[in-house]
């Protein structure tokens, strides 16, 4: 490593560490919603990526509206957008559960297929409403640029924002699932649906709200990603495989598993990418995951569930 000072190498190391963290927060945010739904109902929601796109498009619409009608509010609209993304995606999820998913709980594979049909319809709706082109919301200034603790270190602000948002959402999910009455009911239903019903938990309602919550979080993820990438009708499909891998690798029904899994995958991929080409890094990461899953089929951190 000729020609580099230690402080330069240190800076690169720090920034590379942050790149890994940034990828981690992205993966986790994407996977949280899916993990909740998968853990609760054993259902894989193939339209998860499209619910993310709903969040992203919501942000785009709000940014356009704000720009046109209230330019002075531009610095603040993004927070509103996140809440709106959560609500709209959640509402759509609620409807999807009511119309589609609840009829298929006994057939998890069919749910996978039905949600794929749903994803097709959603993609085409995006195309009809917003056009085929990629769109990017105008971002508030405080989300652009980088934070420079020293001369040689640049930490992306949008990465920090996503990291912060992921932390908040994860804590929120933790609180909901493990510290609230509602979470108690959810966990009871997951562990023994029949008994939960017998002790008076409205399991249908629990399912519906869990699904809506999962989709709502997907919406938040979508809103957050507008700071990193663009949004198009088929954006959702780009993320879906990564998201699946995080959830499956982490093991169903385990919040900790999902977090650790996202962390492992993100660090592995980000470190590999530093040393080899991006394409091959992806291949190796996925391959390693598949191999590990062959030895630990239920995922790294599966909790024991009575089936």
């Amino acid at each position: 490593m000729d020609g580099y000072t230690y402080s330069e190498l240190g800076s690169i190391l720090a920034m590379q560490g942050f790149a890994g963290f940034s990828l981690f927060s992205v993966l986790l945010l994407m996977a949280l919603g899916l993990a909740i739904i998968f853990g609760q109902m054993g259902v894989i929601n193939m339209a998860h990526g499209e619910f993310m796109a709903v969040g992203a498009y919501t942000t785009y619409m709000l940014s356009t509206l704000t720009e046109t009608y209230a330019p002075s509010l531009m610095p603040y609209y993004f927070f509103v957008a996140i809440v709106a993304a959560f609500l709209i995606a959640g509402l759509l999820g609620y409807i999807a559960e009511f119309v589609l998913i609840r009829h298929l709980y006994k057939r998890p594979l069919d749910t996978l297929l039905a949600t794929w049909g749903l994803s097709l319809i959603m993609q085409q709706s995006f195309r009809s409403i917003f056009g085929a082109r990629e769109v990017s919301p105008a971002l508030p200034d405080w989300l652009l640029g980088s934070y420079q603790p020293t001369d040689t270190i640049d930490i992306p602000l949008n990465g920090m924002f996503v990291l912060g948002l992921t932390t908040v959402v994860t804590l929120g999910v933790y609180y909901l699932m493990f510290r609230s009455r509602w979470g108690l009911r959810v966990r009871a239903t997951t562990q023994n649906r029949v008994m939960s019903g017998a002790v008076g938990i409205n399991t249908t309602k629990v399912d519906r709200y869990t699904f809506a919550l999962g989709c709502g979080i997907a919406g938040i993820a979508g809103a957050a990603f507008t700071t990193i990438a663009s949004t198009g009708p088929t954006t959702g499909t780009l993320y879906i495989v990564d998201t699946f891998m995080v959830v499956v690798f982490g093991g169903a029904a385990s919040l900790l598993g999902t977090i650790l899994s996202a962390f492992t995958i993100a660090q592995a991929q980000s470190i590999l990418e530093f040393f080899i080409s991006g394409s091959m890094a992806k291949v190796y990461t996925l391959l390693a995951l598949v191999l590990i899953l062959m030895f630990k089929p239920e995922g790294l951190f599966a909790s024991k569930i009575r089936r």
């Binding site: 998968f38 054993g42 894989i44 589609l100 009829h103 298929l104 057939r107 998890p108 594979l109 069919d110 996978l112 297929l113 039905a114 794929w116 049909g117 749903l118 994803s119 097709l120 319809i121 993609q123 085409q124 195309r127 009809s128 499909t237 495989v241 699946f244 891998m245 499956v248 080409s277 394409s279 091959m280 992806k282 291949v283 996925l286 391959l287 995951l289 598949v290 899953l293 062959m294 030895f295 089929p297 239920e298």
Partner: protein
């Protein structure tokens, strides 16, 4: 004779369905379509191989593979590699810096044919590779998964990830694989022009013959004891295991067989379409194959052929006039089939057929027929 009748054709109901299909693809379609459309049908029918493999795997075995494109692609690439080598004779590629190797290798500074391409100089070895490699690959995946009792959604997702890996690999290693453009510009098979009209007819009929053979072979497997066990595994895996059967071996076998069928489809695809590219390996084609099976009827070997044809014709026809409507329709159709008609076209036909029979058999039976009698027995006998 009984063997042929009962085991290969599937008895009375199966035979008529089989014969009607044979009549339809061997006589009706060639007589009523021009060569252009017939060639399209030929292409669609190669997808039907994959759809049939899903009947075995998913309909009967309860194993949903979202990665049949892997095997379809491997078969297709095998054939394409052979044809490409033939097209890259030193005379044809004289302008390259290294004549005699495929053009895309030359562009990527390869000066020598990679070792794994060498066997594809021989037609015999190519055929063997097409029949064995995909099945062997399926064995590896299957053994690793099923021995460890990975199933259901997990299996679906892992097959999907493998499809992604393979796609990224093919696209990334373009010096060896042709990259995203795939292997193109295939013209002759052992000196015979595969783009000529006569070749198109011949491939169409070979394709149909293979398809019908595959249906018979599948029927043979499904009507054997193996078939019953497969169903038993699908419905109550643990009970079969407790009865002393090694469930994983059955699953591995059916997965390998399904891979083989898909690979044959892939090879026929290359021959009829004239190129192969990574876009037939990835997630989307793999899921589309599942759609074909779902719409045709996941329990019906014959039904999925119609399902495949219907969807593809719909795609072609609609995308010519209402491309937007098509995706809505496709998504809606898919949801409807999954929710309301789990047995697809075959199921609908069966229901409708019963009503028809009832009506034809006269008012005498009308009164006696309870509604339950009119419904078909179970998903099982829809073949």
């Amino acid at each position: 004779m009984t063997f042929v009748y009962e085991r290969l054709m599937g008895g009375k109901s199966g035979l008529s369905g089989f014969l009607i299909l044979a009549l339809f693809i061997l006589i009706v379609l060639p007589l009523s379509l021009d060569l252009f459309r017939l060639n399209l049908v030929g292409k669609y029918l190669t997808y039907a191989f994959a759809a049939i493999s899903l009947v075995l795997l998913w309909g009967y075995g309860g194993i949903l593979s979202l990665g049949q494109g892997i095997f379809f692609g491997l078969g297709g690439y095998g054939m394409a590699m052979f044809l490409k080598l033939e097209a890259s004779s030193p005379e044809n590629t004289a302008i390259q810096s290294t004549p005699g190797i495929p053009d895309f290798m030359d562009w990527n500074q390869l000066t020598e044919l990679p070792w794994f391409w060498v066997p594809f100089n021989s037609f015999t070895l190519t055929i063997i590779a097409i029949l064995i490699l995909p099945a062997a690959f399926a064995y590896l995946i299957g053994a690793a998964m099923f021995k460890r009792r990975v199933g259901g959604v997990y299996f679906a997702i892992i097959t999907q990830v493998i499809a992604v890996i393979l796609t990224v690999l093919i696209v990334g290693q373009q010096g060896f694989t042709g990259g995203i453009n795939g292997i193109t510009d295939l013209r002759t098979l052992n000196g015979w022009d595969i783009t000529s009209n006569s070749a198109k007819y011949i491939f169409y009929f070979i394709n149909c013959a293979l398809l019908l053979t595959v249906i018979m072979a599948s029927r043979f497997i499904l009507t054997s004891k193996f078939g019953s066990l497969l169903l038993a595994i699908r419905d109550k895996e643990d009970r079969v295991r407790f009865s002393g059967y090694d469930v994983s071996n059955f699953k591995i076998f059916v997965f390998c067989f399904a891979a083989l069928i898909s690979a044959i489809g892939g090879a026929m695809f290359t021959l009829q379409v004239g190129f192969m590219s990574p876009s037939f390996v990835g997630i989307v084609p793999s899921i589309e194959m599942v759609i074909f099976a779902a719409v045709g009827g996941r329990m019906s070997l014959v039904g999925v052929v119609y399902g495949t044809l219907l969807i593809n014709f719909g795609k072609t026809a609609f995308s010519e006039s209402f491309p937007e409507l098509w995706l809505f329709l496709m998504g809606g159709l898919f949801i409807a089939v999954v929710m309301f008609f789990p047995n697809g076209l075959a199921g609908i036909w069966k229901d409708y057929g019963h009503h028809l029979t009832n009506r034809l058999s006269g008012l005498r039976n009308w009164v006696q027929n309870s509604p339950a009698g009119a419904t078909n027995k179970k998903m099982v006998d829809n073949t």
